[in-house]
């Protein structure tokens, strides 16, 4: 079981994190370019500007995820071979003026120059980075990414809860016409984004992206927005979502059913779905000027026992008969507390396991998830056509 647990942690940490698809170099070294391509859901090859790992030689939307341990003394190497000046602003990390990435008060990194941004990652949390040159344009062209500062012991902050995994969701948007004609995009006050993304993906690109979350340990959703829109995330009750942090600082814990995220804000939300949960979070993008709802994206979260590899592994753990039509039992568990959920997350049984097994004669046909006290989640099938 432990093997599967570790495997699942790996799944959770890597699934749906296209923002971190390229492993961080040690030490990380970024470059900027203005000749990238990002494919939209309809297949459009969109010109982008952005950052990428030097060793890879290509830029991505969003930029690579930067990860640091809390307390790390960081020197972020940056080179700019692009034809225009850029910088890196480390949004929320409270760096000193020289490393703030604002050209007027820090410095430009002009074409052909290299530099480094030096700072200490003092607080665990969720942050952003972006170019601060002609910011309105350079952001919508794609020059932004996320920074995670985490603790080696897996806790959110000193004295905080341990989490099974961190899942970064970076919300952003863009106006296609601007990316195709950045010079002709002026003036900016009437900008109206028309592509709304999570980790650079939108619409059908998000289908099949799944966060596999444990029902026994919280998963940390690291939410950040570099959008021009207001984003509201809606959390179904079965996710047991709780707000724990904002802008890299602890906040009083509160249960969440929805959360507004304004441009530049970050939040850490812990979710711990009910066993068998199969649903997700809906993110609504709303125009900042007139409040018009522009788009909704659905971010799928499934409880980890539903992962096909786990279900296969657990099939032989002892429910008999399986499929069942009248009683289903697990002899070595008689008398222990067992809870059973339908695949929709509804609790259908909670009590001691009778010696003759669970009476499923009136249950609907389908797959059920069962957890015997002190054991992992297993499944059995009710099929009234079965023996």
């Amino acid at each position: 079981m432990k093997i599967w647990k570790n495997f699942l942690c790996t799944i959770v940490a890597t699934a749906f994190i296209s923002v971190s698809a390229v492993a961080q170099q040690v030490p990380p070294s970024l470059f900027s370019e203005m000749d990238g391509i990002h494919f939209l859901d309809d297949g459009t090859a969109l010109p982008i500007w952005g950052y990428g790992w030097v060793a890879d030689g290509f830029i991505t939307l969003p930029a690579p995820l930067l990860t640091y341990d809390e307390g790390a003394v960081v020197s972020l190497a940056f080179e700019n071979p692009s034809p225009e000046s850029h910088t890196i602003h480390l949004h929320g990390l409270d760096v000193d003026q020289a490393n703030d990435g604002v050209p007027a008060t820090s410095f430009f990194v002009t074409s052909g120059q290299s530099t480094s941004y030096d700072f200490t990652a003092t607080h665990s949390g969720t942050y952003l980075y972006h170019c601060h040159v002609t910011t309105t344009l350079h952001l919508t062209m794609g020059m932004y990414g996320m920074v995670l500062v985490t603790r080696p012991d897996g806790t959110l902050f000193e004295g905080g809860p341990a989490v099974a995994a961190n899942v970064p969701w970076l919300f952003s948007d863009l106006e296609v016409a601007t990316n195709f004609d950045p010079v002709g995009s002026f003036p900016f006050h009437d900008m109206r984004p028309d592509v709304f993304m999570v980790n650079g993906k939108a619409g059908g690109q998000l289908e099949g992206e799944v966060v596999w979350a444990s029902s026994t340990e919280p998963t940390a959703l690291r939410l950040a927005s570099m959008a021009y829109s207001k984003v509201t995330c809606h959390f179904p009750e079965e996710l047991n979502a709780e707000l724990w942090m904002s802008d890299g600082r602890e906040v009083p814990v509160e249960a969440l059913d929805s959360l507004e995220i304004y441009p530049g804000e970050r939040f850490t939300v812990l979710v711990q779905p009910e066993p068998g949960y199969d649903g997700g979070v809906t993110a609504v993008f709303e125009h900042m000027v007139d409040g018009v709802v522009e788009a909704e994206e659905f971010l799928q979260i499934r409880e980890e026992s539903l992962h096909p590899s786990v279900v296969e592994d657990l099939e032989g753990l002892g429910w008999y008969p399986n499929p069942a039509s009248h009683e289903v039992s697990m002899p070595e568990s008689t008398g222990r507390v067992v809870r059973v959920w339908s695949l929709t997350g509804a609790l259908v049984f909670d009590g001691d396991l009778p010696a003759k097994g669970l009476d499923v004669s009136s249950w609907q046909d389908g797959v059920y998830l069962a957890q015997v006290e002190g054991r992992g989640v297993t499944r059995f099938v009710v099929a009234h056509g079965a023996r």
Partner: protein, 280 residues
């Protein structure tokens, strides 16, 4: 007309000053230039003369007289008495009770379409006076709308709202740097308060470079009092008070992070940008 109003208000002030401290605001029409655009404007002013930025009031006032120097009646509202409005005819005045407000930043505005569009809205602040206290009134502007309303027109509800000027204290960057109420000058270890009121029709969000600030008041997010934030939403009509405890020297911008709002007539940089200047 204005002289008559002045006499009326002075009489009120003198009567009030016999027992407690009062102040007076005049509602005055005029015009302003912002980021290359000219706009019709209405402002709360410290005298009967038009001023480009709304006057803010603070301190231990027991009341404030508000005199209508505009040519039409205004329906005044303020957040210290939610749900109550005062209709003030041209030349008339109203007295608002400011006693017993405690530590609070309130908003006073004209609830008419003309008043809202022309910018007749300001903050009345009480308490939190043990440290330097800065005041940021946020707003956004569509110049064509202001001229339409000034000419007696009304807003077309079917028309798209596309503001093209974005201001702190009715100024946009770089003119914000010359405003001692928005440009923060302090030293390491010397804390300041900042009251922020969104007088506009759209939500805003401000990002502080270099520091986190402590939330002392947030009228739309009461659960956030006590939070430490570097990016602070200020919804339309919201009042926020933060405390900045600078722990490092430097010059850092504070700006809207809805990045259309850091432009003047669509060109960057401009709009809602000011700076924190922290001496060692």
């Amino acid at each position: 007309m204005l002289e008559k109003l002045f006499s009326l208000a002075m009489a009120s002030v003198l009567a009030g000053s016999m027992s407690a401290q009062t102040d007076t605001l005049w509602m005055v029409p005029g015009g302003v230039t912002l980021g290359g655009d000219t706009l019709a404007a209405l402002r709360f002013c410290a005298t009967p003369q038009f001023q480009a930025s709304n006057e803010t009031l603070d301190g231990s006032l027991s009341s404030v007289f508000v005199v209508n120097g505009d040519s039409v009646a205004h329906e005044l509202a303020w957040t210290a008495e939610e749900g109550t409005t005062w209709t003030v005819a041209p030349g008339a005045s109203v007295e608002l009770d400011m006693s017993g407000l405690g530590d609070a930043t309130n908003r006073l505005w004209s609830n008419t379409e003309r008043g809202q569009t022309l910018g007749l809205s300001t903050m009345l602040r009480s308490g939190w006076d043990d440290l330097p206290h800065y005041e940021w009134n946020l707003n956004e502007w569509d110049p064509a709308e202001t001229w339409s309303l000034a000419a007696g027109g009304s807003l077309d509800p079917s028309a798209a709202y596309v503001p093209r000027q974005f201001t702190i204290n009715d100024r946009n960057f770089p003119n914000t740097l010359a405003d001692t109420s928005s440009y923060v000058q302090t030293s390491v270890g010397e804390a300041v308060y900042i009251s922020i009121v969104n007088q506009g029709r759209m939500d805003q969000v401000l990002h502080f470079h270099g520091y986190h600030v402590d939330m002392l008041q947030s009228s739309a997010h009461e659960n956030r009092v006590g939070w430490s934030k570097d990016t602070v939403p200020v919804k339309a009509g919201e009042r926020v008070v933060v405390r900045l405890d600078p722990n490092q020297p430097g010059e850092y911008p504070v700006h809207a992070h809805n990045l259309v709002a850091v432009t003047n007539a669509g060109f960057y940089p401009g709009g809602m940008i000011t700076f924190l200047n922290v001496a060692p």
